[in-house]
């Protein structure tokens, strides 16, 4: 018997046991994480009245399941798709404006040397030190004074220059060669043309990462739109769904089926662009 060979195979067994345990651990963890999604998915096939009476049960009873809630979601009289459309429009506008504005600001802060640049960057970081929840009250008053309450502009304007987004663009652009600017200048392009026509295409991956992250934020945003919007016809999906949390009529049918359907757009985007999600999200944590 060769002692060292024996030792080697023992080690191999050890490693494969560890591999099984480690993977099993994440399978279990993954199941725990998915479980709430599964319950709401199964619940969306049960009558809402039953949920109110018995709660979200662990049992799955096929006899009691139907697609009635989804039939009601797509053909009943309710405001769900008004909210859905409002959320879509608000998300698209917010993302487009935020990305363009933040790109320009980060571009100015990264590509040029000018007096006060460091101070400005410090101010960008400083805005992150005050939680939005503290500013929401004076901002709400300000929106009333500016007559922007109950308008889309009132929701978007105060949040257009997002510090985290500026920070991300800056991190990305610090890695780009500034020589490109000079070669653009030699070719006779002015500063703004260089910014838009030469540098913007190069920064495409940064745009992709931020587009995804900020559309997720805008789609799910609730607190600020809740304060700004007053008419039910202007509500976004999160606010609208929230109003359904009363046990009257078909509210719960709509709430559960509607919640499942509201997750869908973000899920699709996530699965398609998973890589960008993670890039954009973790940028601040590494060099922060």
């Amino acid at each position: 018997m060769n002692n060292s060979l024996n030792f080697g195979s023992q080690n191999q067994i050890k490693t494969s046991i560890a591999t099984i345990l480690a993977n099993l651990f994440f399978v279990v963890l993954g199941f725990i994480v998915i479980f709430p999604f599964l319950t709401i998915f199964f619940a969306s096939f049960r009558p809402g009245q039953e949920l109110i009476r018995y709660g979200l049960s662990l049992k799955i009873d096929p006899a009691n399941m139907s697609i009635n809630n989804y039939v009601f979601l797509f053909s009943g009289t309710h405001s769900y798709f008004t909210w859905f459309k409002n959320s879509m429009v608000l998300t698209l506008l917010t993302v487009t404006l935020t990305l363009i504005v933040c790109y320009f600001v980060a571009y100015g802060l990264t590509m040029y040397d000018f007096k006060g640049r460091n101070l400005l960057f410090f101010l960008v970081i400083a805005t992150m030190m005050v939680p939005f929840e503290i500013l929401m009250l004076p901002l709400y008053k300000q929106m009333i004074d500016l007559r922007l309450i109950n308008t889309t502009a009132g929701v978007i304007l105060p949040r257009m220059t997002a510090a985290a987004t500026i920070f991300f663009y800056r991190q990305y652009m610090m890695g780009l060669p500034k020589a490109l600017l000079d070669s653009g200048r030699i070719d006779g392009a002015n500063e703004y043309r260089i910014c838009v026509q030469i540098m913007m295409p190069i920064a495409k991956p940064a745009f992709a990462a931020m587009a995804i992250l900020s559309s997720m934020g805008a789609w799910n945003d609730m607190l600020w739109p809740l304060l700004v919007f007053r008419d039910a016809s202007k509500f976004t999906l999160p606010i609208g769904l929230n109003t359904l949390m009363t046990p009257y009529g078909n509210n719960y049918d709509l709430l559960i089926a509607g919640s499942c359907f509201a997750i869908l757009p973000i899920f699709i985007i996530f699965i398609a662009f998973q890589r960008y999600f993670i890039d954009g999200m973790t940028a601040g944590a590494v060099k922060g």
Partner: protein, 297 residues
């Protein structure tokens, strides 16, 4: 004029102008106005300067003290649950043992995609006091009586922290994974040659070198914990909970400022929150040595 605007000197200022405007109008202005309002009693059409009386009232306001206690309690448990565990998960995920990393990472990130409304709806139903609710069914397996989860203090915070863990474990794990990528493999190889155990490597390499990431996660977790509001708003279907067990500092700010239109008093609440958040973070950063220049990161 046009020539100046197009010059290389003026261009950067044009680029950063949106930030300067938005900073002045939507950050400095509201911040100053909330400081001023906190010294005022604001009634419709009538503003009265009352000095520090709002703050004096806050000192004696039992409900406010309850809200501070609740927010701290929530913050404390989210820090306990959402820093060490995601860090260990990330270290395990980063090891050679785990296959299909992409799938696992994707799944653990999924809850972060849901809005607080959807998450709140799910967990409100799961933690309902009905006998047939999921959490009570789980208790029944262990032969325990159903619990009125959201009417008792301890179980309420169990529910709130569960929601937080469900939503943010994956996100924090990804932060730590990004931090782990920055640790050179040579360090681990050197430790292996020296015969270090897995735990020894985690204790002496991974943990200290993850410090910048840990500080980042700690900082945002402190803020998020202290400023929590919507999670409680969703679980109790509004800002009112039995004996205010779900009332947080921001919830109290919302109640006074928006629901009762007492802007002055609510501003004082907000500024106390700001002072608390800044103080804790400065202490935390100081203790972690972020202010000392000697340390090379």
């Amino acid at each position: 004029m046009k020539k100046l605007l197009y010059s290389q000197k003026a261009a950067p200022f044009v680029f950063v102008l949106p930030f300067i405007l938005s900073f002045a109008i939507f950050w400095i202005y509201p911040l100053i106005s909330t400081v001023i309002m906190s010294f005022q009693n604001i009634l419709p059409g009538q503003v009265e300067w009352i000095g520090t009386r709002n703050y004096e009232r806050l000192l004696k306001d039992r409900v406010f003290h309850q809200a501070i206690k609740n927010s701290f309690n929530y913050m404390f448990w989210t820090l306990v649950m959402l820093i060490p565990f995601p860090m260990m998960f990330a270290a395990l995920m980063d090891s050679r043992l785990v296959k299909a990393k992409g799938v696992f990472k994707g799944i653990l990130y999924l809850p972060a995609l849901t809005s607080v409304v959807v998450a709140g709806t799910i967990f409100r139903l799961m933690f309902s006091e009905l006998e047939g609710s999921q959490m009570n069914q789980v208790l029944a397996w262990f032969g325990m009586e159903p619990v009125k989860w959201l009417k008792v203090y301890t179980t309420s915070y169990f529910a709130l922290v569960t929601v937080a863990c469900w939503r943010w474990t994956g996100v924090n794990m990804l932060y730590f994974l990004a931090g782990l990528k920055n640790i050179p493999d040579e360090l681990y190889e050197a430790a292996e040659i020296d015969g270090a155990s897995s735990f020894g490597k985690f204790r002496h390499i991974t943990f200290p070198l993850l410090k910048p990431t840990s500080i980042y996660v700690l900082t945002i977790s402190i803020y998020a914990g202290l400023a929590m509001f919507l999670e409680s708003f969703m679980l109790w279907n509004g800002n009112d909970s039995p004996q205010n067990i779900g009332l947080t500092i921001v919830g109290y700010l919302y109640r006074r400022g928006i629901q009762r239109n007492q802007m002055g008093y609510a501003s004082a609440v907000g500024l106390v929150l700001l002072a608390i958040a800044l103080t804790i973070n400065v202490i935390q950063l100081f203790m972690n040595g972020s202010f000392s220049r000697k340390e090379d990161k």
